[in-house]
Amino acid sequence: MPRYLSLIRIEESDALAGGPSPELIQRMEKLMEEMTKAGVLLDTAGLTPTAQGTRVHYEGGRISVTDGPFTETKEVVGGYSLLQAKDLAEAVEWTKRFLKVHEDHWTVTCEVRELMEG
């Protein structure tokens, strides 16, 4: 069964404005439990703010290092989940359920990509 990486992109300002509500966290935990029980969720985590991250760039044989925050991009990767699903449609269905537990003021984009295997 193929594996899919869902790259969760958020607008960092959403997260900084007080972070996720306790209700969101509770709904999220319930969903994660359900996904684990369904054998779908292999791994997931949220990421610390880009202020604590570093970009390491390689171009023309040279490396450049930039410390966060990455203010020039509106959406940043805020987390990921690694799913194992029958097909892309199923991975997308679970991703929708993940998004639905968020409140309306959130703007989140999940990019669901299949892992190259073998």
């Binding site: 029980k37 054998g39 269905e93 295997e117 073998g118």
Partner: protein, 419 residues
């Protein structure tokens, strides 16, 4: 609500069906009727969702719709029974419909009941496999037929008969807690294991649906270990399947020929699945406590030794030999004994292993088993008895039914000759 193409419904149906069937089966006490009512709910969804949009919680929508139909059915039956009683016949009136479930824990319990019912020992192994794939794996009849290499009508018949048998024998829709619990759980684990092996044996096949059975079995094992966290053997089976699955990519060469464990490129083993296997094995050990580990836990422990070894030679062979010894004591089998001989050959050398293998020569169960001469040939080769070794490889090649494996054994026979 959101607009969605009808094709996406199929995914939702596949995900939700097992839970809905389980929830309805508790009401109507018949998995066949439960499946029909679930189908009715899916049809209702196909009519409504394209028009009104997909509900926010499609699973709950399907469950409510199917349960409503179940309650209607029960009421109709009761009315019928009452009318019959009124005209003078004596029929027992069934219990009133139970209260609405809301607790996810209840649904988990129903799902577990469904697992135990589909894997009930009154059914043949083939019937249990077909019913489990259908009700819990969400596979369609044509998919099961392709995966199990049997004609579609055969599978359809197996499923119909299985449902009829469950109804006729009045199999209770419950998780057994009495003295037969261990045996019933054994039957469930066996079904998952058989489904996995059906796929594992077919990696060289042309049809991707057969290897996909491994994934279905792995998922069932993961679901079951979440539902039964206190059962060591459930974690043991899950761990075993995680480890076995971790080697899938390395098991076959690009030309389809099987690659033996010792020749596999270990970099191609899936580290994530190995890590999950180790975690599951930890749960199994924790749940086992001071009791003697069961056969699946022991097999998983053996698989863990392989999965964590950097090379074939560096594998902890003495530990594997010990584990096979425990396994042979727990579940005696000539095949286990043969595997123990291989481990002994690596731990102590080919001579003591050959003695073990020779002791198996008279074993009727192994008479046509190609791995016996294959292992024996291997040991003889290591003892430089090349003529005898070549003979054994030839014999093994003539016994195997798998063309790829035959090619491999013939090649070994030729190479032995060349030495």
């Amino acid at each position: 609500m959101e607009a969605q193409p009808a094709a996406a419904f199929e995914t939702v149906f596949r995900l939700e069906s097992p839970r809905v069937i389980a929830g309805v089966a508790r009401l109507v006490r018949d998995v066949g009727i439960a499946e029909e009512l679930t189908q009715d709910a899916l049809v209702a969804a196909l009519e409504q969702w394209p028009r009104d949009g997909v509900p926010d919680n499609p699973g709950a929508w399907l469950m409510t719709t199917a349960r409503r139909r179940a309650v209607d059915l029960i009421r109709r039956r009761e009315t019928y029974a009452r009318k019959l009683a009124e005209i003078g016949r004596d029929l027992p009136v069934s219990a009133p419909p139970p209260e609405e479930p809301a607790d996810p824990e209840d649904i988990d319990d129903d799902l577990l009941r469904l697992v135990f019912t589909a894997c009930h020992p009154v059914l043949s192994a083939e019937a249990r496999i077909a019913l489990t794939l259908r009700l819990l794996g969400g596979l369609t009849t044509p998919e099961i037929a392709r995966a199990c290499l049997v004609p579609e009508p055969t599978v359809a018949q197996r499923i119909v008969r299985a449902k009829r048998t469950l109804a006729r024998k009045n199999v209770a829709f419950e998780v057994p807690y009495g003295p037969d619990r261990a045996a019933r759980l054994g039957s469930v684990l066996e079904v998952i294991y058989l489904i996995f092996n059906e796929g594992y044996a077919a990696t060289a096949g042309d049809d991707w649906l057969r290897p996909a059975l491994c994934e279905d079995a792995l998922r069932l094992a993961r679901v079951l270990s979440a539902l039964m966290p206190k059962e060591p053997e459930v974690h043991g089976l899950a761990a075993l399947l995680e480890f076995q699955s971790s080697r899938t990519a390395a098991r076959t060469a690009p030309d389809g020929e099987p690659v033996l464990l010792r020749d596999q490129n270990r970099h191609r083993w899936n580290r994530l699945l190995i890590a999950r296997g180790i975690t599951a094995l930890g749960h199994a050990h924790a749940a086992t406590g001071s009791a003697a580990p069961g056969p699946y836990v022991l097999q998983a422990a053996i698989a863990a030794c392989h999965a964590t070894a950097l090379t074939y030679e560096e594998t902890d062979w003495p530990r594997i030999a010990t584990l096979y010894g425990l396994l042979a004591a727990r579940a005696p089998s000539p095949v286990v004994e043969l595997n123990r001989a291989v481990a002994v050959s690596m731990a102590e050398g080919p001579a003591p292993a050959l003695a073990l293998v020779d002791a198996l020569a008279a074993e009727p169960a192994l008479r046509d088993y190609h791995l016996l001469p294959s292992v024996r040939g291997d040991l003889l080769l290591r003892l430089d008895r090349t003529a005898e070794a070549r003979e054994e490889f030839e014999r093994a090649a003539s016994l195997t039914r798998n063309a790829r494996e035959r090619a491999l054994l013939r090649r070994r026979a030729r190479e032995t000759e060349a030495r």
